[in-house]
């Protein structure tokens, strides 16, 4: 609370960035310990969580006041005009402090209290059980077993405790392999395809440098390929673009030569050895020794493949460009499409999707196991493994299954949520929308296969909201070990039970589980199947969206259908009873009245519900957001 100097400012204006109407909403701005709250004159509330704030900007003073622009991680952009500059300055400073916390313990999750007792909280955390999930896949079995090598996080700090490896891979092999892999992330099982007996495995890059080999690592890969009884060949997918690896090789050769020269000099000079310079050079030498990919000559039975997904920095600046284009006032159609093109965003989304399809085909068509890695194996690798599993297994397309998938390939395998989402005030170069891209790929699949998913778009958006909100413990920290040290399960709540309680909101009314139960999705990645995800990147720009929701109406119809069918059954059974009882067949009044009298009128009342909730400030009524003043004609 020490950061808050002003808690309430009156007569603040809120501008809509896509509306031309000069009539801004006027209201009161409140600053609480966790939220920024704006209540307009119609008593409509806009809540902004401090953790969602990506940047705050104070613009030059104007005649009407001091403009304050807040950009949020969930792509909300609000533009306030605060009448007095001092108030604006106070709010600005407070938000700067409040949006960037230095310690995990200061995040919202540690104070959030949904009024549950400890056992409820614990049950929430136990809702998703990964051991159960591996059992569902069919492991352990005769070829795969649970390894206790990482039980104490001794081999790899960023992996979970429980890892599944080929039965014939002994502990020394695992340990040896882990030393040869970046951050100790040796090849382990991510998904097991029971029918094909083929596996999706994941790891980080080998530290092969220029030419180094590791026999244990070669053995481990061989063990993985042997664990597949049908196809002895396995694919090794390096998700990085080939051209980047090649240019890296070219420069590394030069750097290598320099380092050899410098390091010999260092060892001869005592002073330099002690200095910072030496540390820096060591790091360089380490880096040069690291990085690399499997040499097909050294590993038997592998097929090596680059798939070309760009790194986190490219992705971060791509999204940046996309948002810049979309924020432009009075954007023309041509500028929009040329901006969309030059941002490269959809190209990156397509690359992720193509990689997942490559993986799926290797398993379904060639029956081959696949090992996926990138550099550290926690960004692109997570994208490809999880998306591949989603294509292969319809379970992951259910609400609960999707939670399991995120827990498995993202949370447990150490996708660095806190760094990628910038939960704490840390290195901005570590921030990257890797998980957002995964959600967008899933959204594209829901668009192409409208009946294949149990959940709808709102579910994806809600999850996206919470990876940044820091309201629940699931996404805090960067790996399981860190989460255990933070005692998240004792101090915070899990998001999943809350989503499940609300699951009605997230159901896809068109979902047809029967026809999709065994189906593998084969998306078509022709360029025009990729569209700009307006509902994500303009979530809060209400004027840009369709003004009527098909999903809601179908959902309601579905429910009414069920209700009416039950009514019919009820009535029919009553009729039967009556016929049995009264042979003269006199109909009682009570029977007629049990027919729901309101049901036929439901249909019309549903679609205008939103609009009646809206305060009528115009002489003419409009559907929410459908107002000529909101649009630039």
């Amino acid at each position: 609370m020490e950061h808050i100097r002003t808690t309430k400012v009156e007569q603040v204006k809120l501008l809509d960035r896509f509306s031309t109407s000069n009539k801004a909403l006027t209201g009161t701005l409140y600053l609480t310990a966790t939220h920024l709250l704006f209540i307009d004159s119609h008593q409509k509330e806009t809540w902004i969580l401090h953790h969602h704030i990506a940047s705050v900007e104070k613009l030059a003073l104007t005649t009407s006041g001091c403009p304050l622009v807040i950009q949020c991680k969930n792509f909300r952009i609000v533009h306030f005009i605060v009448p007095r500059e001092r108030d604006c300055h106070d709010i600005y400073n407070s938000l700067l402090q409040l949006s960037k916390q230095a310690k995990y313990e200061d995040l919202y999750a540690f104070s959030y209290n949904p009024k549950q007792n400890d056992s409820e909280r614990l049950r929430g955390w136990q809702l998703i059980d990964l051991a159960e999930e591996y059992k569902r896949m069919g492991v352990p079995n005769s070829n795969w077993q649970l390894s206790d090598a990482n039980r104490e996080y001794k081999i790899c700090e960023t992996y979970p405790r429980e890892l599944y490896v080929p039965r014939i891979a002994s502990k020394p092999i695992i340990v040896g392999s882990s030393k040869f892999r970046s951050k100790g992330r040796f090849p382990v099982l991510s998904y097991y395809h029971r029918e094909k007996e083929a596996a999706v495995c994941r790891c980080s890059q080998p530290l092969s440098g220029f030419s180094a080999r590791c026999l244990e690592d070669e053995h481990l890969l061989q063990a993985i390929s042997k664990a597949n009884p049908v196809n002895r060949y396995m694919y090794v997918m390096d998700t990085r673009p080939k051209h980047r690896m090649q240019s890296w090789w070219a420069t590394q050769k030069d750097i290598g030569r320099i380092i050899v020269r410098i390091s010999s000099k260092i060892w001869n000079d005592e002073k330099i050895r002690e200095s910072h310079e030496q540390k820096r050079l060591n790091a360089m030498a380490n880096r040069a020794a690291g990085k690399g990919y499997e040499n097909e000559d050294n590993y038997s039975n592998i097929r090596f493949q680059f798939v070309g997904i760009e790194n986190i920095h490219v992705m971060r600046s791509s999204l940046q460009k996309l948002l810049e284009v979309n924020g432009t006032k009075g954007l023309s159609v041509n500028d929009f499409y040329s901006g969309l093109e030059s941002s490269g965003w959809l190209r990156h989304i397509k690359a992720v999707m193509d990689a997942a399809i490559f993986l799926t085909k290797a398993i379904m068509i060639e029956n081959a196991s696949v090992l996926v890695h990138c550099s550290d194996g926690w960004d692109r690798t997570s994208q490809v493994c999880s998306l591949g599993s989603l294509l292969l297994d319809s379970f992951y397309r259910t609400i609960r299954g999707f939670m399991v998938l995120i827990e498995k390939d993202w949370i447990s395998f150490g996708h660095k949520f806190s760094e990628r989402c910038g939960h704490l005030d840390s290195d901005p170069k570590e921030v990257s929308p890797v998980f957002t891209q995964f959600l967008e790929c899933v959204w594209h699949l829901t668009e192409q296969f409208p009946q294949a998913f149990e959940f709808n778009e709102a579910f994806l958006l809600q999850i996206h909201e919470h990876i940044y909100s820091c309201q629940f413990g699931n996404f805090l920290g960067n790996c399981q070990k860190e989460r255990e040290e933070l005692k998240l399960k004792e101090k915070t709540y899990s998001l999943w039970p809350f989503l499940l309680d609300d699951q009605k909101k997230y159901l896809n009314p068109l979902y047809s589980p029967k026809s999709q139960a065994v189906a593998v999705l084969e998306p078509n990645t022709v360029s025009f199947n990729f569209k700009f995800w307006r509902n994500m990147y303009h979530q809060f720009d209400r004027t840009l969206h369709p003004r009527q929701s098909v999903f809601n109406i179908i959902m309601n119809m579905n429910e009414q259908n069920k209700q009416l069918e039950n009514d019919i059954k009820d009535l029919e059974s009553k009729i039967k009873q009556h016929k049995n009882k009264q042979t003269d067949g006199v109909l009682t009044k009570e029977l007629l009245h049990s027919v729901r009298p309101e049901s036929p009128t439901l249909k019309t009342s549903l679609c205008f519900k939103e609009q009646t909730l809206l305060p009528v400030n115009d002489a003419l009524r409009t559907i929410e957001g459908s107002n000529p003043a909101d649009n630039r004609y």
Partner: protein
Amino acid sequence: MEFSELIRTGRAQAELLRGPGAPPLRGTLCVTGHHLLLSPGPQATSDLWLLLLRSVDSIEKRVAGDSGTITLRCKDLRVLQLDIEGVEATLDIARSIEALSSLESVITSFPFFYRPKGLRLGDAWHFHPPEHYYKRVARETNAWRLSEVNEDFSVCPSYPRAVIVPRAVDDDALARSARFRQGGRFPVLSYHHAPSGTVLLRSSQPLTGPQKRRCAEDEELLRAVLAGARPGARGFIVDTRSAQAAKQARMTGGGTEAKAAYPGWKRLHRPMERGRPLQESFVRLVEACGDLEQSMDRWLSRLEGCRWLAHVKEALSTACLAAQGMEREGACILVHGAEGTDSTLLVTSLAQLILDPLSRTMTGFQELVEREWIQAGHPFQLRCAHSAFSHARPKHEAPTFLLFLDCVWQLGRQFPLSLEFGEGLLLALFEHAYASPFGTFLCNSEKERCLCEVRTRTHSLWSGLNQPKEQRKLRNPLYVLNPLAIWPSVEPQSLRLWQGLFLRWTRPPEPSEAAWEKVWQIVTDKEKTEGSQPTVSASEPQP
């Protein structure tokens, strides 16, 4: 002229490839006066395959060895490939198709021979004329009358016999105003917006010319419009050309209304693309949509380069401007460009769709198309002579009507419950506008249709579409009457490529079609369960 002179071969063995999603067909190929037939032979299970020759946009032949390949690109954007046995047969069939598909004569076209079962000639022809709309206007206001000044099409050859005009202006004044407007298209009522008491008018450009001519009757006409609207109403003239283009038109005898001559009226310029550039935009978009191998960057840059969606935005925002002027500012609106038969109609018809709930129903929309496009003299025959694939030098072709349908589709996407018709109707109208067994879209004006006796000798598309068996394809199952105006968003992020049309034949549609089927099923289930309740209680014996 006999068709038989143009048919060079009787029949040939061929295989037909219909693109993704449809299995190839083998059988005997045969060219008739109006159709290309493929008969799969007596033992085959599939039916006769039939293609209207009129719908062929371009034809390409290749021969290799003793067989040939003909690629037919159709006006509905379908691409068909025929593999034919025999070089001679291939060339003959190709030549026959070329000759027959480009016949210009209206009265030998297929609609004059088409006699489907279950329809009677002349059934729906009296369904939508302006008289019908006038009845509605007359109920709402007394300021307008139905004029038959154009009874014999002598005042304006592209207007229908009857038009709605201010009651205060007599037929002589109308005729004089017509002489001051290009093609005789004097200002007439397009739509009366009852809630605000304002009107939407359309016309062609005034013939002011370099001497800045004036016309007292024309000025009187527009004055009478304001006098007949709600008291104190202002007027806006929405010119669909840029201010500069309007000025330049003076050199060729055209021009725009001088401010001083029309008190109360204010001119707004909203430049909209038309003619050749619009056709080129369409061609380039279709080209881009046909390339399945292109990279993401290439696709996005072609989508941008063709500018189609920019034209959609222009059209929608100009229509919204006109509608906003009426509904919010209580102003009367006159829309015109140059001839007043293209972008003008685009704006007036879209503005009505935005404002008028009735035009969003199945029959209301058909009436709108009939009244604002067909009767209003959009030259369909010229504009839709060729579609996007033709190699012929474009003369008068322009996809104005397609642009209208695209805008309607965008409205339907933004207000999915507010249109009674679905994408199916829009696709059908697109197909029929370019090539149809029905007579509705034949000719360029009512006058021509009269001369060709289209109304008595061909069937109306509307009676074809309104048959019960077609309804499921055309209707929006989720429709609920929405009494309000629908204001769309015209930001580029809100507009989308109409994949159902432009990518209709290039990608397999199964998943989305299955989903649509499911929506229908849910809706019909609902109707069934609701409907079955009374029957349950009705089956009870009464006391």
